[in-house]
C-alpha cells in the first residue's frame, strides 16, 4: 500500500498530486496490478483533505485505465505505465546539462534559465492540447 503526501506550496491541485503520485509509483514499480489503493477514508484520515478530492483522483485513474473500483472492496490498480528507461533518462539529462552550460556561458542566471524552462514547457504542452 502506498501513502500519499501533500505539498501545499506546489500550487498543483490536490487531486492532481494524488494522481501524479500513483503515476510515479507505477513508473518506479512501487505499485503493480492487483495492488489496492488506500480507501478515501484512510487518505482523508491522514491528510485532512476532502474525500471528494480522493474520489476525483481515483476517477481520473479509472478513466486512464490504471485503476478500477470494486464495490465494497476498494480501488485496485489494474494497469501499468511504461517504466522510464534509465538509458533514455541519462541521454536527456546529458543534453540538458549541455544546454545549461551554454546558457550559463551566455551569461544567464538561474532565474533566467527557470523562466525560459517554464515558458518552453508551457508552449510545448499548450501545442499538445490545441
Amino acid at each position: 500500500m502506498i501513502e500519499f503526501q501533500l505539498d501545499s506550496t506546489s500550487g498543483v491541485a490536490t487531486y492532481l498530486q494524488l494522481v501524479q503520485q500513483v503515476h510515479q509509483a507505477l513508473q518506479l514499480g512501487l505499485l503493480e496490478p492487483g495492488d489496492q489503493l488506500p480507501t478515501a477514508q484512510q487518505v482523508v484520515g491522514k491528510l485532512a483533505i476532502n474525500p471528494n478530492t480522493v474520489l476525483k483522483a481515483y476517477r481520473d485513474l479509472e478513466r486512464e485505465g490504471l485503476a478500477r473500483a470494486r464495490p465494497g472492496q476498494g480501488t485496485f490498480i489494474v494497469g501499468t505505465l511504461p517504466r522510464t528507461d534509465p538509458a533514455t533518462q541519462a541521454r536527456f539529462l546529458e543534453s540538458m546539462a549541455k544546454w545549461l552550460r551554454s546558457a550559463r556561458a551566455a551569461g544567464l542566471g538561474t532565474d533566467d534559465i527557470e523562466a525560459i524552462y517554464r515558458t518552453a514547457v508551457r508552449n510545448c504542452f499548450a501545442e499538445g492540447v490545441a
Binding site: 501545499s8 500550487g11 491541485a13 477514508q41 484520515g45 491522514k46 485532512a48 483533505i49 476532502n50 474525500p51
Partner: protein
C-alpha cells in the same frame, strides 16, 4: 439537485445594524462548504439562522428543504457546533454522551463511544479538565452521533493549536467519507479550508461576495500582469476583482470563463487564499467608496 441551504433575501437586523443583509444563496448537498470572511462579517449570524437559533428579520432560509428550528424532526437533521466548542465543564464525558442519547431520537451510542475511545479520552473525565482540542472533539462527537444530514460548525478550530486543528479536520473528513454528511464550516484560516472544502462562500460586511465550487473558482480566476494600462480597456468577459498599478506595470486578479488571449499579459494561477483576499479587498473598497459618497452628500 437538493440544496443543503437555500436563502433568498435573507437578513438579520440588530437595532439599526444589519448583521446579515440581502443574502441569497443555494448551496448544493454533499459538499464541504467553507464560509470565510473577516470578524463581524455575519458568518455566525448565518450559521445560527441555519441552525434555528435565530429567526430572520427579512427574507427566507431553508435547510435541507425545511424551516430551521421548526420542530424536533428538523433539529434532528442538523448538527451544530457553536463557536469555542462549548461543553458543560462539571459534567463528565460519558454524561455528555448520555445526555446526547436522551435528547436525540437518532442517537448512535456505538459511534459516540467508538469516537471517544479512538481519541484516547477517558469517558470518566470531566469536560472542564479536557484540553481545548479534546473539548472540540467532544463537541464534534456529540454533533456527529446524533447522525445529522448536515453539520454546521462555527469557527471550530480557531482556538486550537496546529496539531489539534489538523486532528479535528482529519476526524471531520473521516466522518464526511463514512457518512456522506454535508458540512458548512466557518473559519478565517484559508489554508485549512483549502484542504477540506470543495465549495466556498465569501461573506464580507454582511454581504455575500462570491459563492461557488472551489474547482470552478480556481479555474476561472487568474493573476495577470503586464505593461501599465487602464483596467477598463479589458475585454467584456474579464471581471477585475483586484488591481494594482505602478508607473509602469499593471497587475490584476480577474475572473473570466474565456482564455486570456492578449500576449502582453503574463498569466499566473492563483490560490484559494489569493481569491479570498481579493474579494475581501474588493468589498472593503466598495464600502469605503460608499461611505465617502455619503460624506459628500452630507
Amino acid at each position: 439537485m437538493t440544496a443543503v441551504m437555500e436563502t433568498a433575501g435573507l437578513g438579520k437586523q440588530y437595532g439599526k445594524r444589519w448583521a446579515l443583509h440581502d443574502c441569497s444563496l443555494a448551496i448544493p448537498e454533499g459538499k464541504v462548504v467553507g464560509l470565510v470572511g473577516p470578524n463581524g462579517a455575519g458568518k455566525t449570524t448565518l450559521l445560527q439562522l441555519a441552525a434555528g437559533l435565530l429567526t430572520p428579520t427579512a427574507g427566507t432560509i431553508e435547510v435541507l428543504g425545511g424551516h430551521p428550528g421548526s420542530g424536533p424532526e428538523q433539529l434532528g437533521r442538523v448538527g451544530f457546533v457553536a463557536q469555542d466548542t462549548p461543553a458543560y465543564s462539571r459534567m463528565s464525558v460519558s454524561q455528555h454522551l448520555r445526555m446526547g442519547a436522551l435528547l436525540n431520537s437518532h442517537w448512535d451510542d456505538e459511534l459516540a463511544f467508538r469516537r471517544i475511545e479512538a481519541l484516547d479520552i477517558d469517558p470518566r473525565q470531566r469536560a472542564g479538565s479536557l484540553s481545548g482540542g479534546q473539548r472540540a472533539q467532544l463537541a464534534l462527537t456529540l454533533a456527529i452521533a446524533k447522525r445529522p444530514e448536515v453539520l454546521l460548525l462555527d469557527e471550530p478550530v480557531a482556538s486550537l493549536d496546529p496539531l489539534a486543528r489538523r486532528e479535528f479536520l482529519q476526524v471531520l473528513m473521516e466522518v464526511v467519507a463514512e457518512h456522506g454528511v454535508s458540512v458548512v464550516l466557518s473559519s478565517h484560516l484559508v489554508a485549512d479550508l483549502e484542504r477540506v472544502c470543495d465549495y466556498l462562500v465569501v461573506l464580507v460586511a454582511s454581504h455575500i461576495q462570491v459563492a461557488d465550487d472551489v474547482a470552478e473558482l480556481l479555474a476561472t480566476h487568474h493573476r495577470i500582469s503586464g505593461p501599465r494600462r487602464d483596467s477598463r480597456s479589458l475585454p467584456a468577459d474579464q471581471h477585475v476583482i483586484e488591481e494594482s498599478h505602478t508607473d509602469r506595470q499593471t497587475t490584476l486578479l480577474i475572473r473570466t470563463e474565456q482564455p486570456i488571449l492578449d500576449p502582453a499579459w503574463t498569466t499566473r494561477p492563483v490560490t484559494l487564499e489569493d481569491i479570498v483576499l481579493a474579494y475581501m479587498g474588493q468589498a472593503r473598497d466598495q464600502e469605503r467608496a460608499r461611505k465617502s459618497g455619503l460624506g459628500v452628500l452630507r
